[in-house]
């Protein structure tokens, strides 16, 4: 693992293959929580946290349970199980240990339970860092890093969107476009802009 690989993961996950704007995963929170900047950032942080730790857990489950038992085809359902239970667990722990953090993230955690971006990144890790069921070198670290920066990319998209939507509230949008319709249009334009990053190749 050299600096080039790391850089390509960072740029790739944040810009070129941005989960929201290029892969179109996790669109529900992208439109639901992007009304104001503050909740958008909180949601982004929660997603980074959950993505990284879910990647850790699913990597371990895949490597030490599914591959030895030859059950690779159960990947999706097992990952959903792992992620959902893990998010529930995190919610409980946060509620107990830090009510302040819970107030900031609490309502977003259940949203993440069924967020396809989280499942998407874990599946992507497996696809990229396992060859024929065997982990490539530094597979674990790469997985964690990829998940973390996928989360960062998600946060970036959310942050940009919320910034735009805060300003959109002040603009005289035609009645039938106001609210979600104009948000969809903005999202599609942003997605077009992010396609420009496709030119980057490492």
């Amino acid at each position: 693992m050299d600096a080039g690989t790391i850089l390509s993961i960072i740029i790739g996950m944040v810009f070129i293959n941005n989960f929201v704007l290029s892969k179109f995963l996790g669109l529900c929170p992208f439109l639901g929580v992007s009304r104001q900047i503050k909740p958008a950032v909180s949601m982004g942080l929660a997603v980074i946290f959950v993505m990284t730790l879910s990647a850790l857990l699913t990597w371990l489950v895949y490597r030490f349970v599914l591959v030895p038992l030859n059950l690779i085809y159960l990947r999706t359902i097992v990952f959903i199980l792992v992620i959902a239970s893990f998010v529930q667990f995190v919610e409980m722990v946060v509620l107990k240990k830090s009510p302040a953090l819970y107030r900031a993230l609490g309502i977003y955690l259940p949203l993440i339970t069924t967020n396809c971006a989280v499942l998407g990144v874990t599946v992507l890790n497996i696809n990229e860092f396992f060859v024929n069921g065997k982990p490539i070198s530094a597979s674990f670290t790469l997985s964690l890093m990829q998940s973390f920066f996928a989360g960062v990319g998600f946060t970036l998209a959310l942050l940009l969107m919320s910034g735009i939507r805060e300003r959109l509230d002040l603009v005289d949008v035609p009645r039938h476009f106001s609210g979600i319709p104009i948000a969809f249009i903005v999202a599609s334009l942003m997605s077009l802009a992010f396609m420009g990053f496709n030119g980057f190749r490492f």
Binding site: V65, L81, V82, K96
Partner: protein, 268 residues
């Protein structure tokens, strides 16, 4: 065998996670204040926001901390209010129940100035030459107040006017806010005489467009024994503080726009 292993693996994983979550929920259980639950169950739960807090839950929390007065919730029923006061251990300040009343009785009696085919909404039509009615002060009859009411207390009658169900009305003030003609006000249930007109036009102009409008004849003013009703700017206005609801003005009103609001609610 091919089927048993996946079933076992998935089952075991599910069981493990289930157990883990079960244990965690015991271990990390947060004891919520039992008072809070009680308070929330007493509150109306409509999240109308009339108290100024974002919803009933936030109001309950502030209530528990003693940051906000119980009176701020105008919506809560009398019975629940007593219960709340008991839970909170505070003395109840006497507050009269209020209801919304409509200061217009025109409705279908007032003709339209033009045919309106736009959005069926009072605010929308009001933007167009102050509405389609001949009387620019009167009710437009598109039911914006009805849609704004979180308690279904307002219904549109056949005469084209909103009718307020005094029993359902919790005086949250939503309808007062949305009415583009400002025809609705909140009044305590005791003041049951009101002027059902808001027209500031000269008497003769009012008369030509509406048979039940206030024509500023001042007969009510002369007959009132407690000097509670006055014609201000071509419209009779009742001072609620002075009014004894004797009904004298109602008897002499030639157009019948002074009305008796028959609240059949017992004062709490």
């Amino acid at each position: 065998m091919e089927i048993i292993i996946p079933i076992l693996v998935l089952g075991t994983l599910g069981l493990l996670f289930g157990l883990g979550l079960g244990i965690a929920s015991r271990k990390f259980c947060v004891s919520t204040d039992p008072h809070l639950q009680k308070i929330i169950s007493c509150l109306p739960g409509a999240n109308c926001g009339a108290c100024g807090m974002p919803g009933c839950m936030a109001f309950a929390q502030s209530l528990l901390k003693g940051e906000i007065s119980l009176d701020r919730c105008r919506v809560v029923e009398e019975q629940s209010r007593r219960k709340l006061a008991e839970v909170l251990g505070i003395k109840l300040s006497s507050q009269l129940k209020q209801v919304a009343i409509l200061h217009c009785s025109g409705g279908n009696r007032v003709k339209d100035r033009f045919q309106y085919n736009g959005l069926k909404d009072c605010v929308a039509v009001n933007l167009l030459l102050h509405g389609q009615k001949e009387c620019v002060y009167g009710c437009l009859g598109f039911g914006t107040c009805q849609r704004a009411c979180p308690f279904n207390a307002i219904s549109m009658s056949e005469s084209g006017l909103p009718v307020i169900d005094a029993e359902r009305c919790r005086a949250c003030g939503k309808c007062v806010e949305v009415c583009p003609k400002n025809l609705l006000t909140l009044a305590p249930v005791t003041s049951n005489i009101y002027v059902a007109c808001s027209s500031h036009d000269l008497g003769r102009d009012t008369r030509t467009v509406c048979s039940v409008g206030c024509i500023a004849c001042r007969r009510c003013e002369k007959v009132c024994p407690v000097d509670a009703i006055h014609v201000i700017d071509n419209l009779a206005v009742i001072d609620i503080d002075k009014c004894t609801a004797c009904g004298e003005c109602k008897k002499v009103c030639p157009t019948g726009c002074i009305r008796d609001n028959k609240f059949n609610i017992q004062e709490g």
